[in-house]
């Protein structure tokens, strides 16, 4: 549905986006993740025909964003970082206007606006003037604006910014419910959002794609090793020796000596991805030591993100 090929965009001599390529399949939700100034907004602006790329090509729904921009524009709904609202207008008038300029049939405008307001739960503020709405409602009006003409592709730049936790969950649910019918690109710097809503993630940093995969695979591949924290009471030295002899365990470190504490904390690392916990537990029990806690340290998307983006920084310097 969306095909980006070697797109670059320079502002003066600075590359905001540098040789980016990725694809999005029909009905997919793609998360676009990156620190501030990574080039997320620039990429989205190129896809929405707001600005042209310096080089490379991008197609949306089979139409080139530069050559056939009017065709592209009919098929996209775009929510920029700041929702593009006219503060002096009433919500319903505003959505009417957007539906008109997006090319919705005159007869279907009323229904389209009603549907969009229903989906984003803003029907009750339809007659309010936009500037008097709270930030959360403004954001939802922005979202309603993006879906009012039922576009094939939705491009959302940080759609949950400024919402309260309940609204964030609602908006995420809404976005999920829109997938399938619509193809969605969603940019964010909130990582749990990506693991919760997106099927695939593109991580970009300094204008380049640094990773592209499902959220699960990204964490899995990066982990490489698994790490267990074991809290156990017993003779430290002997425990470490015993545990390191278990099949699959590579290193055992004693993190804190159990002075004044009932137990010691051992960190067990393994390069294999086999499940080690039952074996370790069994060994400890057989030796007659007491096991307090055992935890598999899961690497979150945060770690992946930090790892990828800081590594990039290191290699530049």
């Amino acid at each position: 549905m969306i095909d980006v090929k070697q797109v670059s965009r320079y502002f003066g001599r600075v590359a905001a986006v540098n040789d980016i390529s990725f694809q999005v399949a029909k009905g997919e939700i793609l998360g676009f993740l990156g620190p501030n100034a990574a080039g997320k907004t620039t990429t989205m602006r190129i896809l929405t025909t707001f600005i042209p790329a310096t080089s490379g090509t991008a197609t949306v729904a089979g139409f080139d964003v530069h050559e056939q921009s009017m065709q592209v524009r009919k098929r996209i709904g775009y929510l920029p970082e700041n929702p593009p609202l006219y503060p002096e207008m009433r919500v319903r008038d505003y959505l009417d206007f957007v539906a008109k300029i997006k090319g919705v049939d005159a007869k279907r405008i009323k229904k389209a606006v009603d549907d969009a307001m229903g989906k984003t739960a803003i029907t009750n503020v339809g007659n309010r003037v936009i500037k008097h709405l709270s930030k959360g409602y403004k954001q939802r009006v922005g979202l309603a604006q993006a879906i009012v003409h039922n576009p094939d592709v939705l491009i959302l730049d940080e759609p949950t910014v400024g919402l309260d936790p309940k609204q964030i969950i609602e908006v995420r649910e809404l976005i999920k419910s829109l997938a399938g019918e619509h193809t969605i690109i969603l940019s964010t710097h909130i990582l749990p959002e990506v693991s919760m809503t997106c099927e695939r993630v593109v991580i970009i940093d300094k204008g380049k794609v640094v990773a592209e995969d499902t959220p699960e695979n990204l964490t899995k591949n990066l982990m490489g090793a698994q790490q267990l924290t074991v809290s156990v009471s017993g003779p430290d030295k002997e425990m470490a020796d015993t545990l390191s002899k278990i099949q699959g365990v590579d290193t055992v470190q004693i993190k804190s000596q159990g002075k004044g504490q009932a137990f010691s904390t051992l960190v067990v690392e393994s390069k294999s991805r086999d499940e080690l916990r039952p074996v370790i537990a069994k060994t400890i029990v057989e030796k007659g030591w007491s096991l307090y806690e055992m935890k598999l340290e899961d690497m979150s998307l945060e770690d992946v993100f930090l790892h990828l983006t800081t590594k990039e920084e290191g290699s530049v310097q």
Binding site: R9, F11, T42, R45, T48, T49, F50, I51, P52, M70, R73, K74, I76, Y78, P80, N82, P83, P84, L85, Y86, P87, E88, M89, D93, F97, V98, K100, I101, K102, G103, A106, V129, Q145
Partner: protein, 261 residues
């Protein structure tokens, strides 16, 4: 066409849902009203003096020309006020879209830049027409209490319309250059003031250059309209001026896409 009308409608609604339209029309009417009163009182005094003189010399009282002594100065005054008020009408057209980010909505919708510019120009023009129509109260009063000729009044208003639309077209242009409404208004004002007064340089410069400059003067071309003289040369001048402003707006909007702002 549909997009164009949608933009016109939205702009007009936005003028009237913010205080701008009411303040501009209100103050414009107030000022023109004061000057209408001054000019008419002046004209009455003149008539009375002429009557007294006629009685003194035992002659028939002279016919005083309302068109010449009242309507012409009124139109002249309105043409000056328009110079101050229209930059306030056009300042927000693009500048505000840029400031609030709604320009992103317009430029990612299937609306061409031309539809957008013409829509905004038309909306500004319509507000200006409302301003002009509101001054017709003065003319109605003159027609009730006097016998002015209608033709010259109509030509005068046509002149005002063309003059105002020239201001508006460049107001649209300066509005595309900035996201600050004050800068937009000031730049428009300075620009049209320059072209308003360009004829004044002719006294300093050589007569040849002065003659050329006079041809560019916005107000010189208005003189004939105020006299009630319809001359296509002036119509062509104003139309070219309007076209130039709209063309520059178009170039500015297209290029801002490439600059990425």
């Amino acid at each position: 066409m549909r997009n164009y009308l949608a933009i016109v409608e939205r702009e007009i609604k936005s003028y009237f849902s913010s205080p701008i339209a009411y303040i501009v029309i209100g103050l414009f009417l107030l000022l023109s009203g004061i000057f209408f009163y001054l000019i008419i009182s002046n004209f009455m005094q003149m008539c009375m003096r002429a009557d007294m003189q006629a009685q003194y010399y035992q002659m028939a009282p002279p016919k005083m020309n309302v068109n010449l002594y009242a309507i012409r100065p009124i139109l002249g005054n309105i043409s000056t006020f328009v110079l101050f008020f229209l930059p306030l009408v056009t300042m927000r057209l693009f500048a505000d879209e840029k400031r609030t980010g709604t320009i992103e909505l317009l430029s990612t919708s299937p609306v061409t830049n031309l539809q957008c510019i013409l829509g905004k120009f038309t909306a500004g023009g319509l507000l200006f027409i409302i301003m002009l129509l509101s001054t017709s109260v003065f003319m109605i009063l003159l027609f009730i209490y006097g016998k002015p000729e209608f033709g010259p009044v109509a030509v005068g208003y046509l002149g005002l319309l063309l003059l105002g639309l020239s201001y508006i077209s460049f107001g649209v242009f300066f509005s595309t250059l900035t996201d600050n409404q004050i800068i937009s208004a000031l730049a428009t004002f300075a620009f049209i003031l320059f072209f308003w007064a360009i004829g004044w340089f002719s006294s300093i410069l050589s007569p040849e250059i002065g003659k050329i400059l006079n041809n560019f003067s916005l107000i010189d071309h208005f003189d004939d309209f105020a006299k009630g003289v319809f001359d296509t040369r002036h119509v062509v001048f104003y139309c070219s001026f309007i076209f130039m402003g709209l063309f520059l707006s178009f170039v500015s909007i297209e290029s801002s896409r490439w600059r990425g702002r």
